[in-house]
Symmetry: C2
Subunit: 226 residues, 2 copies
Amino acid sequence: MPHTLRQKIADLVLNGELKPGDRLDELSLADRFGVSRTPIREAIRQLGASGLIEIRPRRSAVVRSFDRTELSEAFEAMGEIEALCASLAAVRMNEAERLKLRALMAASQDVSARNDRPAALELDFEFHGQLHDGARNRMLKTVAEETRLRITPYSAALYMMEGYNADLERPHSQHAAIADAVLAGNGEGAARLMREHIAQSLISLQQFFADTQSRSDAPKVKGDAR
Amino acid sequence: MPHTLRQKIADLVLNGELKPGDRLDELSLADRFGVSRTPIREAIRQLGASGLIEIRPRRSAVVRSFDRTELSEAFEAMGEIEALCASLAAVRMNEAERLKLRALMAASQDVSARNDRPAALELDFEFHGQLHDGARNRMLKTVAEETRLRITPYSAALYMMEGYNADLERPHSQHAAIADAVLAGNGEGAARLMREHIAQSLISLQQFFADTQSRSDAPKVKGDAR
DNA sequence: AACATCAAAACTGTATGCAATTTTTCTTTA
DNA sequence: TAAAGAAAAATTGCATACAGTTTTGATGTT
């Protein structure tokens, strides 16, 4: 189970158990998953290459952390990539995919009305994933998901934090607008709306950091270590 | 020397010693570089995660190969990413970078006139690298270089093959047109020209494959294994 | 001669051991 | 008490060993 192990370690990061800056101790992970250090090391190296983890020679690997600049650059890049996916999806999605997108939006409406944050996070992933698939380009999908993966520790934290993203209406309505454009075959519009959506996410995230860092009970997101 | 080892193995692929589809035998590589299998395996896994190599459970890793569809998808994705870099670079490059770009173009003119293919390949890399830097976005640069890396085994082969890309004038003049647009601050134009340039590269590559696959003395590019 | 079957060799996946380095803890000193 | 330094503990990097799987090659059969 080599691929599974990599996923297990990634999940530790993605579900927030390990936060940016946290060390990944090989022996602890080995014990935890009941294997030796060798496969753990291989998994960590792979995650390092995909950019979720930072490998430092002779020192423990740590969950990658972004400073303010890196974060906004990452969101700019992601915005453009997602916009590209959206504009291609608007032209290329087939009927089955369009149906699936519509179903996702209905579910999302429901979930955001109930303020079910974990479910909303999950649907957010599926929404973007659907557009990645709809763009009908494997390489682009790979690139998009890698980019998304790298910033997940930050964007997921935002989604889950009560009080921020005050209600789930705004992201949902942005998604809905994008979906409408895509379903209407309006690539240009979908791309523009997607860019705005991602830019908006960055602003929320920056606000979140600005607020939490000035408080003493701040959740420890050792954001800008470097 | 862990990072060096990964680079050494990557170089085997990038300089064409290992071609798409070729197996990477851990023991041979270990002997060759005078280390044990452990660090070799770690390097291979990293290269797998960055997409240059394909990892297959219980089987030897192989240099990643693209079939026709994957190749054109990869070029489409790369075209868009490079176009984005170019359009950002047109607006963001500073004076030093612009100077460097001009110098690169002068050198390229020279090299293409002399039909020095290895030098032209090197300058091609530098040209695109300069635009990646000029876009002033580390994440985007990472994404662009990863994408470029993955298809290098194919595009480099094209560049080096005498007879294909008959003279180096065409790629050079395309680069020159892009550079002019970038230096003029014309992001839109630079992006458009870049897309055309990449699309043209794909066409040359497809032509190259079509021709070589029908001959018996074809260089063994086990292109579309899968 | 082509094909199927099986044994031998080669190779991968994982565990374990050890040296080298980093990190932590405990003294010592100002 | 705080800072500096040294010893101890923890941790990484690499080599090696071995079990299990895949690949290769040989043998026999039609």
